[in-house]
Amino acid sequence: MDSLINHIKNFWLFVFVIVISIVLNLPKIDINKQIGPYKINYIGGYEINFNNGKFYRDMSLKKGLDIAGGVRVVLEPDLSNLPPVEHKEALNSLKRILEIRVNKFGINEPNISVINFKNNYKVYVEIPGVKDVDRALSLVGQTAKLSFKIEKEPPKELKEGQIYIPQFEETNLTSSDVSKAVPDFYVDQTGKREPSIKLVFTPEGAKKFAKITRENIGRRLAIYLDNQILIAPVINTEIPTGDAYITGQFTIEQVKDMAIQINSGALPVPVKVVSQTRVGPSVGSKAIKQSVLGGIIGILLVILFMLLNYPKLFHLSVINLVVYGLITITVYKLLPVTLTLPGVAGLILSIGMAEDSNILIFEKINDEIKNGLSKKEALEKGFKGAWSSIRDANIASLIIAFILFNPFEWGFLLNSGPVRGFAVTLGLGIIISLYTSVFLIRSIFKYFYKIKL
């Protein structure tokens, strides 16, 4: 048989995999023991924590947009002002900055991917679990480019009826001169506290800032965010310290978001929201309850079906299903797989498919018994006889799952969250079920029935 099987023939490998799977799905158990140089604090509790948190892994199931609620935004970057050679770099930094922004916003596991379709780029941002969707949208959709402009020399005299409107010109101070922005309260002379953003300059930036303030006393210095004027105070004295407060009629939330935007850096190119999907959290939780109920009943019926049709080999298919479920959940947690509703459908479907290989093997074994072979010979021959069709049929299914999942994010293929969610659970289901329904069953044959395979 194929060499692949020979690599995974050890029965004890399965025992190991199963034990690990059980441990990772256990509720929290305190251990607090020193093992060699490592201290294991506790096991289970849906997380791994070795060596006092130096190795930490959250093991809870990740819920996707349609289950947890949230927003999916498709952004179209405007690359028209950049030469084509710089496109890739700009897109990479765009993705990085968006990731920082969403992470700092305090939501876990945003899913951001850049897709190229005939040189027409799109950035998909999925933020599950977010409650204030509008806020999240403005957070990712704004370029957040800071610029500092100084008031031009005012005209000496104003004509009759003419109102003075200050004109501003660019300075050499830019976003990159700001080392960080801190949400803060600004206390004015009357003692009134106002939410504000404190800009801390880099040493280089502080020098530039000092020079600008020194040379322009009596004029206004305007701070712009995305070409929108935030504040334009009159410079009273030189400011050598390198801190600047931006005040305005801001709420605390606005100040926090602006600080996140400035700190993560301006987006390298302006973006436009071309599509958005918002999902309320209530739908998902209802649908997940329905699907889980459907799934459980499905599993029970499948087991019943197997009992009625293959009473003598039935125990093997139950072992297969249990181990399959255990490994699947563990793999979902380890990768991690973000569970979406189509994903749950894929999972339930894969339960049906997990039995397919079993049925093929069992039928072959029954055939061989009918042909008059002994039980031992029938198990051996039946198993070998079923393998070629199992292999080819599963490879074909994997090809489809591969195209649906589109792992290399090819621009000419689908790249939608729901489709991928389905493809990933289906694909994993095929691989894991091959592992359990073929290799596990084979190991059991070898170990308990002492059959040479």
């Binding site: 999902v279 309320g280 459907g294 197997m306 189509p342 049925i359 093929l360 080819d392 195209i403 389905f422």
Partner: protein, 296 residues
């Protein structure tokens, strides 16, 4: 033994009639596509008591002279479709207006898609289907070493896809079901169902051929009939486990997820049907054609 070759003209006719009925609906009434494909704005929400007429007055200013489609289910859930894709500010405003005027407003789902994004999605879907078919054609060809097998397998796959689309044309007309990305996913998954049983049968044919070295057409007919009869039960049993799982899912879920599981369910059934009744018989017909040409 089942004589699958003898009854093939009955099954061909059955399939053709089904395809014809489906296409009658698709071409006469069209298939409704979801917002993901057409572009526009769709919002679904819950409320205590939703009145369709009131909603119409609230939404009309946002639709800007385009046709709004409002569906209300049990006075509790409403879906509003606007062909125009609203911008961010308009969306916020619409949500706020709805919140103010609908008691117990809970947003379920909101989707805004620019029209060109939808067109792109249609392109990508077609590419995905075409690519799947090509790759599988090559895989079966390589795996079974003859182009007849892969051609027959692909014809059976296309047969299933065409029938499923036709059935959704009927659903679209009767229930107003929308063809969305999930249904498209189901169509792509159907390709793999269709192939699973076909491969099991072809593998059996391959084994019998090896054993007896079937050459002439009489032997071929017997070979195929034997192979199909041999795997018939396990094919059906294979599918029954998937059918059970999908059926119990479809029984409990609602909305688009329901139609998704229905599509998968029909897919499994079609895939099981087409492997013996289409793929195997087409394989026979192609072989027969090739042999008769050789004789000439």
């Amino acid at each position: 033994m089942i004589n699958i070759i003898k009854i093939r003209f009955i099954t061909y006719t059955l399939s053709l009639i089904t395809i014809f009925i489906g296409f009658y609906f698709v071409f006469n009434y069209g298939i409704k596509f979801s917002t993901e494909f057409t572009g526009g704005t769709t919002i679904t929400f819950e409320g205590d008591t939703i009145k369709k007429e009131e909603l119409k007055n609230i939404i009309t200013p946002f639709a800007k002279d385009t046709n709004i489609e409002i569906r209300v289910k049990d006075l509790k859930t409403a879906t509003i479709k606007i062909p125009k894709s609203l911008d961010n500010k308009e969306v916020e405003q619409m949500q706020k207006t709805l919140k103010d005027s609908v008691k117990g407003f809970v947003l379920q789902d909101l989707i805004v898609v620019e029209p060109n994004v939808g067109k792109e999605l249609i392109n990508k879907t077609l590419v995905a289907i075409a690519l799947s078919i090509i790759v599988i054609f090559l895989f079966v060809w390589k795996s079974f070493g003859d182009i007849t097998s892969s051609t027959a397998a692909i014809i059976a796959m296309l047969h299933d896809v065409v029938i499923l689309i036709g059935i959704f044309g009927i659903f679209s007309y009767v229930y107003g079901t929308e063809l969305d990305l999930l249904i498209v996913t189901a169509i792509l998954t159907l390709l793999s169902f269709s192939l699973y049983d076909t491969i099991v049968i072809f593998d059996e044919i391959r084994k019998i051929k090896k054993k007896f070295k079937a050459q002439n057409i009489q032997n071929l007919q017997e070979t195929i009939n034997t192979a199909v009869s041999k795997v018939f039960v396990r094919s059906i049993n294979n599918s029954i486990t998937s059918i059970i799982a999908l059926f119990s899912l479809a029984l409990f879920v609602e909305g688009q997820l329901f139609w998704f599981s229905v599509a998968l369910l029909i897919g499994v059934i079609l895939g099981t049907y087409s492997s013996p009744f289409i793929a195997s018989t087409i394989y026979y017909d192609i072989q027969k054609l090739l042999l008769s040409k050789k004789k000439k």
